[in-house]
Subunit: 286 residues, 2 copies
């Protein structure tokens, strides 16, 4: 069973809204603002490729949570870090990397928990605040909207597979915090990050919004490597943003993004005549 | 090195305030309210005694974080649960216990993360909101204040050591959420929970407040077991609240608490002529 199927098994217990977006939402200031929050567990054997430094592990741990905050269009405020350590001396460089990533996004490490653990395990929780009118979720994409991404999906996977020029994309993902806010202010109708891979993210957004996506094969920001389209669609570990936006609002945007298709009525994700496979990166749990 | 020493090693990096209280604080509504947040990592070999059910593990995981929220005088709002599972089928009963504990405190599981892990690892993050005037921390105790606790510190440790009548104190701790708010509204000057043991908590509060504590040996709510004083002072795993309050405010309180001593000038923790040992439960990290 993978983590998506497991999540399905507790949907009725926790609630459908609570298990649908990357962030939880809580109204502030009489509903004028929204506090978003998100938590992510990373551990050594599954999430930290061999060759990463502790500093990079700390950076990455914070980055994955800030990316979820970014995908709501929110400004991150505080981060909590729970560190389960197999060796005590790893804490300091991990926290230095964590602080560096938080600072780069104008956020702050505000607390945490320290524990011993057989396997290095880092759980970050990030909060952010966004004006209600700019709050983005996975639902809201409308037929006619353009489908866009930031960055170059597939780069982290390429780094993992030995393309050394993309190693940094893998181990030091840059959460798109400021870009996310610009996108939200420009009028995006739906947004999420592509950390599990672009194809599965498109399916998640398509299902949450009740629409289909038609991708334009000639417009994809592919990497100059073999099998580039496969990396683009199915590679995981990138923390770019996927969003939809009406055409008239898109033309006024001033952040660098790539248009990769458009929202259509119906469901599913197509590229030309082909159906895009519904698969991506998923944790497998026995 | 234990977790307290490790925390000391990153104090300069993270900040002294950020590493001093159980909860992080963030101002809301132009500073009229405070959002508190806290995160706790529990895992099977260290934190879940043999014989606990998954349901109880879920309950306890939420309870430890809600206890920190309670110690600020705050009403918990949302909880995030990151679950690292060694076996997929454990998720559902864990989440049922988590939901039950959240509901018992008028809070809500708002999201989380699911991961596979070699060892069952549960990280809970809880938020709460409190009016600024009632917000309690470990600092603020004033000479002349009474020192009080809720419940019977030592009961969880007794349960762990085979006193079966106290097993439930160990595996289903009750976060003192409503009592915590009543205490805060009554005018407590400092508050924290005693999860690491009463003695070490007294020292933590004494250092944060810059005062000493004199305990009254004849007033302690000891358990009717051998070595009761040792259990009372040094047992861990209870989630009662320790707080200080001026005498004139204490007399108007209507929640059941025990007065165990008073705040004095100076430092340290004494009982009669004896110094109380500065020790308690601590995670040891190699």
């Amino acid at each position: 069973m993978d983590d998506r199927q497991l999540l399905e098994s507790i949907r009725d217990l926790i609630g459908r809204t609570e298990t649908s977006d990357d962030c939880a939402a809580f109204p502030l200031d009489n509903g004028k603002k929204i506090l978003v929050s998100t938590t992510d567990m990373l551990h050594e054997t599954t999430d930290f490729p061999k060759g990463m430094t502790e500093w990079q592990m700390g950076w990455m741990s914070v980055a994955v949570s800030l990316s979820d905050v970014a995908s709501c269009g929110a400004q991150p405020t505080q981060i909590l870090v729970a560190a389960g350590l197999d060796r005590a001396e790893r804490l300091k460089p991990i926290m230095e990397g964590a602080v560096a990533c938080a600072k780069a996004c104008d956020a702050k490490i505000a607390g945490g928990d320290i524990d011993s653990h057989t396997e290095l395990t880092i759980v970050t929780t990030a909060f952010g605040v966004v004006d209600k009118e700019y709050y983005c979720t996975r639902s809201g994409a409308q037929p006619g909207d353009l489908v866009c991404v930031t960055g170059r999906p597939g780069a982290a996977q390429a780094g993992l597979d030995g393309y050394s020029g993309y190693w940094e994309n893998l181990v030091m993902p840059k959460p798109q915090v400021f870009t996310g806010q610009r996108i939200a202010h420009s009028g995006a109708t739906a947004m999420m990050d592509v950390s599990d891979g672009l194809a599965i993210s498109l399916y998640d957004m398509s299902e949450a919004s009740g629409v289909g996506f038609d991708l334009r094969e000639n417009h994809l920001p592919l990497l100059p490597i073999a099998d580039a389209k496969r990396y683009f669609l199915y590679g995981g570990g990138d923390y770019g943003l996927l969003f939809t936006i009406p055409q008239e609002k898109f033309v006024k945007m001033d952040v660098p993004v790539s248009v990769i298709g458009e929202v259509v009525e119906g469901d599913g994700v197509r590229m030309g005549d082909e159906q895009v496979e519904k698969r991506g990166y998923a944790h497998h749990i026995d």
